[in-house]
Symmetry: C2
Subunit: 217 residues, 2 copies
């Protein structure tokens, strides 16, 4: 069994199990037995469970950042000095996210992982993601700033996080929500379908009227 085989078998199995049940709830024994690999192989190849978790993320985030940077390069070349419209920026981000799983695993797994990164206690993971991938998000938010000059900086910051919450919450809890939707409305919802529904909602939300000023006291 060549090295690459063992390593990718561990990663393939781990990402699915992590996405299904979280990090703490997935033991190395579960991963290695499902992957039909020796228990000690995880620590041999990755060093620790923490590093395995980070490796699982890199396998999604590395191609994503590459693609997203390239897509933003193209946009900036196309628009030159003109401001890139908000819809185009959001659309580009959505497309970059959607393209990644084509070469890896399912989008659902990717989204669940992102949701876990935020919601699970794993502080090391948030730090790792910020350090490794923070710059591409900084680039994106700067472009969003130019596209929404009427928004105060703080307001834009909060609205971007509101929308991040919408996307991560929806897509990471997708299975449960999908079951309900299917039972109640007889619709089978795909991730692409959800993104279609998300687009007008996110655009309207970003362009909502400014809130009333805080009440004086």
């Amino acid at each position: 069994m060549a090295q690459t085989d063992t390593v990718t078998r561990i990663l393939d199995t781990a990402e699915v199990l992590f996405a299904e049940r979280g990090f703490a709830e997935t033991s190395l024994r579960t991963i290695t037995s499902k992957a039909r690999v020796n228990l000690a192989a995880v620590n041999y190849h990755f060093g620790s469970k923490k590093s395995l978790i980070q490796a699982v993320f890199s396998r999604y985030l590395d191609p994503f950042t590459t693609r997203f940077h390239r897509a933003l390069d193209e946009l900036q070349a196309r628009y030159g000095d003109e401001v890139i419209p908000l819809e185009v920026l959001l659309e580009t981000m959505a497309r970059s996210v959607l393209e990644v799983p084509a070469e890896r695993n399912s989008l659902k797994v990717f989204m669940r992982l992102l949701g876990l990164a935020y919601s699970q206690a794993q502080g090391h993971l948030r730090r790792y993601i910020q350090e490794e991938y923070g710059s591409v998000f900084a680039r994106f938010t700067e472009l969003v700033r130019q596209a929404t000059p009427e928004l105060p900086d703080a307001e834009r910051f909060w609205r971007l996080h509101f929308m991040l919450g919408t996307v991560i919450f929806t897509l990471s809890g997708l299975d449960a929500l999908r079951d309900i939707a299917e039972k109640d409305y007889g619709e089978h919802v795909t991730v692409r379908d959800l993104i279609r529904r998300l687009r007008p909602v996110v655009v309207s939300a970003m362009q909502a009227p400014l809130p009333a000023p805080p009440p004086r006291e």
Copy 2:
């Protein structure tokens, strides 16, 4: 030490620790030592860790459902046969949520717990919440249906969950986001301030134009 004292000490300590680090990451030993209570007392009073988790939720959700039902009663009495506007419904829900922590602990803890209920693997918890508190949400969504007759049922379902995601994600990750906002924009953000910012965003999102129909294939 009277019974109530031990029981509430366990609940008070558990809810804070659960909110900070999740369920699996919080051991009974941590809870009982922080609460200065015997380890076996949790199993004596609650039977198991699972039941303790459910008890923590009940202490928030019981007063919330009572208040929310009462608030909806008043609304329906006031509006009679007229449709209650969406803004009023959302406002009423927000007010009911905000009122609960006044008699219990912090709103932040309440929101973190709700976020965990969705994101952590604990299937038993989701089932418990659905069974115990599903009816008040059904009542609310029926009123929202009447207030947004132009939305297809499935679209309304998804948008309500989009907004649920916004609120839970924002308020449950509040500490981290607040730190960033404070550092970057010099604003100290209170929960009430966030709700003021959320209002126009949620209303606009719910009233966004319908998505383009799915592409034919």
